[in-house]
Amino acid sequence: MKRLIFILMLLASPALAVQPDEILKDPVLESRARGISKELRCVVCRNENIDSSNADVARDLRLLVRERLTAGDDDKQVVDFVVARYGEYVLLKPPFSLSNLGLWAIGPLALILGLILALVFIRRRPKQQPDDLSADEQARLEALLGK
């Protein structure tokens, strides 16, 4: 069962993810909170953000995010605050840093490399056909053509 473990981790408790009492009065602030929540990992869950997680720690983090936002932090400050406490592990999108270069660069690099290889492959083809004649044959052909 491919999803068994995944499922077991997902539904640790029956509660809803974001509870009605967590929601901020200010809709702009709330929507920012939701956006930030989707980028932060629930640390006890498997590959789940705190926005959709039912775990208690996820709720604590959601409340913390909203608390920081209400206190006037901008989005980056909130995320930095959480990372300072829980480490890089909470970021579902690893930052563009030198240590994550391999992760971020693989797609573009593979594409460029692949394109170059493909171009070389396609270009090489047409050149091969005229070369079918050996030097002798070429000489004979030229003789026949009266050159």
């Binding site: 509660a15 993810a17 009605p20 789940e48 592990y89 970021l91 690893p94 992760l103 692949g114």
Partner: protein
């Protein structure tokens, strides 16, 4: 008794597969006809034996035989019959047996239908198949035996995980396995071709149906899994970029590349080495997927270290299969000579770009999946790679793919004129631009997702239609003749157009629901009416109810639009006492334009209820698109030239040289 019979059949199948993997391989190299013929016999025998084993295990589940450990751990006498049957593969051991059974079915099919295959190729293919099946039979027998008995049978079992007691998920694994195992056929053909040193149109004609079958079943399997997550997990998510999902998505991407490049081999006798490499990679990703899921290595390096037996075994299979095949490839690939040329602008080039984009996107998914593991092993850093990464790093390749797809599909072989295709696609381009601009002008926010997504969707669907119409010479001949021509187009042309349009529909569903979804979370009193995105909802009552093996609170919700009742919804909260596990059953009212999605939350102290309500526009098109893609694949599979390949056999059976 029946259990012992199944157990014995598995052991016998293991012995048979050892014979099947050695004797025909030697026969093929020595050109001994009788040794080669043994491949067919053993393949059929293996099919019969694994069928007996699978039947025996199914019997144990159906009759709730609690003297079998696996049944005790995964079944319950009160469980509905459907889930007793699907419970056979709802666990590790049973799912491995299913894997092996499907492998044996395919092997049997090659033995039965492969009369027109060259004798040596057939012997080698079946021999490679047997290497895979013996590895997995060994895995089953030595680490995951489903037929173990318990000394003191309990009165009842532990039940199946309630979340798996669901039709969507019940049939999710068989489809995925049909896909994974189908790719093992392409793999076997690739390895056999490397040993033979020959890849030709006939080879591609055999590989393509298997790849198509694998791709179609993977498409359906992934679709089922995603649909299940959508209605079962309670917030309407449909894709999580979880490692186990990626494990099925990577083979799907590579299979898509493979089935395109096999066309080039078949029609144009080029890209041979690349196609063979893709066939090897596709199955490698299936194996890697199995390893990821079965070993638990992605969840935690430590989980793997604590219970390494199964993980190490699969890692061994993985290393031998992938390493062996790639080594063979390195030595023999140069023998696969390419005979034809094509220019920059040609169908071939289009398919090369298609392959490149699909392979690169699979590489991105792979990198994201294993990066946390690699980082932890190499530097000790603990980090996460989740949906936000994949959305950013993966999506651009799909956007490019969607942009070039209709153009590539129309280019002619060898040397094409770009202008001509663009001419034919002009109306599709105009339509796509109009859709994009219209959506963009409507949207208030700065998100480009909806306009780009919808423009691409229109481009793909209209582009496919334009392709078919131009093939039928629409506008150049009378309408009656166009219709006749459309009917007479090869099935593979229809398959291509339908599958490409299906991708357009899926993109439409994804873009629409992602951009326009409305969510509402609140506490509701009984009898209260609340408004969400143009609809009103009223919670009339919450009733207690007793299911066959669970208890439930069932909400009674009425949805109104402009004061008129549009839907009655019954969201449930269930509790399964045997597993002591609660589940949520969202209530969903689906139409072609929107899903109303209602979830019942917890009862509050004052008797009111927490509720989540979503309006999800056009969601259903996501799965309609998946279905249409699968139908496109099936259409291609039914193309005459594959049927001809199998009927030709009956007319002129291949004479086997008698040494």
């Amino acid at each position: 008794m029946i259990i012992e019979l199944g157990h014995f059949a598995v052991l016998l199948a293991f012995a048979v597969s050892l014979v099947q993997m050695t004797v025909p391989m030697i026969g093929a190299s020595k050109n001994w006809a009788s040794w080669m013929q043994l491949a067919g016999t053993t393949a059929i025998l293996q099919f019969i034996l694994t069928a007996v084993a699978f039947g025996a295990l199914t019997w144990a589940f159906v009759t709730s035989d609690f003297s079998v450990l696996l049944v005790v751990e995964n079944s319950h006498s009160l469980k509905p019959m459907l889930y007793k049957v699907t419970g056979v593969w709802g666990n590790h051991e049973g799912s491995m047996l299913l894997w092996i059974f499907i492998l044996a079915i395919y092997g049997g099919l090659v033995a039965a239908l492969g009369g027109n295959l060259p004798a040596t190729l057939k012997a080698r293919v079946l021999s490679v198949q047997a290497m895979i099946s013996s590895a997995f039979l060994g895995f089953l027998i030595f680490t995951s035996n489903p037929f173990l008995r318990v000394a003191n049978p309990p009165l009842d079992g532990n039940d199946l995980n309630p979340l798996l007691q669901d039709p969507g998920l019940a049939f999710h694994p068989p489809f995925l396995y049909m896909g994974y195992v189908g790719l093992s056929m392409s793999f076997s053909f690739a390895v056999a071709a490397l040993i033979e040193g020959r890849v030709d149109a006939a080879w591609a004609r055999w590989v393509r149906p298997w790849t198509l079958l694998a791709w179609v079943t993977l498409t359906i399997g992934i679709g089922l899994g995603s649909w299940w997550a959508y209605y079962e997990l309670g917030w309407g998510g449909w894709w999580f970029w979880d490692p186990v999902e990626n494990a099925s998505f990577m083979p799907w991407l590579i299979a898509a590349a493979l089935l395109h490049s096999a066309i080039v081999v078949e029609k144009r006798d080029t890209l041979k080495a690349w196609t063979v490499l893709l066939a090897i990679l596709a199955f490698s990703f299936s194996l890697i997927g199995t390893f990821i899921v079965r070993s638990g290595v992605i969840t935690s390096v430590h989980a793997f270290a604590n219970d390494p037996e199964r993980g190490v075994f699969i890692l061994g299979i993985l290393t031998v299969a992938i390493g062996g095949a790639l080594t063979l490839f390195a030595f023999r690939a140069s023998s696969l000579k390419t005979n034809t040329v094509f220019s920059f602008v040609s169908r071939e080039s289009g398919l090369v770009i298609n392959n490149l984009l699909l392979a690169v996107s699979a590489a991105v998914v792979f990198a994201g999946t294993v990066w946390p593991l690699v980082a932890e092993i190499t530097t000790g850093r603990k980090l996460s790679v989740g949906a936000p990464f994949f959305e950013l790093a993966f999506t651009p390749f799909m956007v490019i793919l969607a942009i070039i797809m209709p153009i590539g599909a129309m280019l002619s072989w060898k040397r094409a004129q770009l202008g001509k295709s663009v001419q034919t696609l002009r109306s599709a381009m105009i339509l796509a631009s109009v859709v994009g601009i219209f959506v963009w002008s409507m949207d208030t926010g700065g998100r480009m997702l909806a306009p780009v997504g919808l423009a691409l969707a229109a481009w793909l669907v209209a582009g496919s239609a334009a392709d078919l119409l131009s093939r039928a010479r629409f506008g150049k001949v009378p309408l009656a003749q166009v219709l006749r021509r459309l009917r007479n187009l090869p099935r593979s042309d229809w398959g291509k157009a339908v599958a490409h349009a299906g991708m357009g529909l899926t993109i439409f569903g994804i873009a629409a629901v992602t951009a326009w979804e409305i969510e509402d979370i609140r506490v509701v009193n009984l009898g209260d009416r609340y408004a969400v995105g143009g609809y009103e909802f009223q919670l009339n009552a919450v009733n207690r109810s007793q299911g066959k093996n669970y208890k439930a609170d069932i909400g009674d919700v009425t949805a109104y639009k402009n004061g008129r009742v549009v839907a009655q919804l019954a969201p449930e909260k269930r509790f399964y006492p045997v597993q002591r596990m609660p589940t949520t059953e969202a209530a969903i009212d689906t139409t072609l334009t929107r899903d109303l999605y209602v979830v019942l939350g917890d009862r509050q102290e004052d008797g009111s209820w927490a509720m989540r309500t979503y309006i999800k526009p056009f969601t259903v098109w996501m799965w309609i698109g998946v279905l249409v893609m699968a139908i496109g694949g099936i259409l291609s599979m039914s193309d005459r030239r594959y049927r001809v390949a199998s009927t030709a056999r009956r007319k002129a059976p291949d004479a086997v040289p008698a040494e």
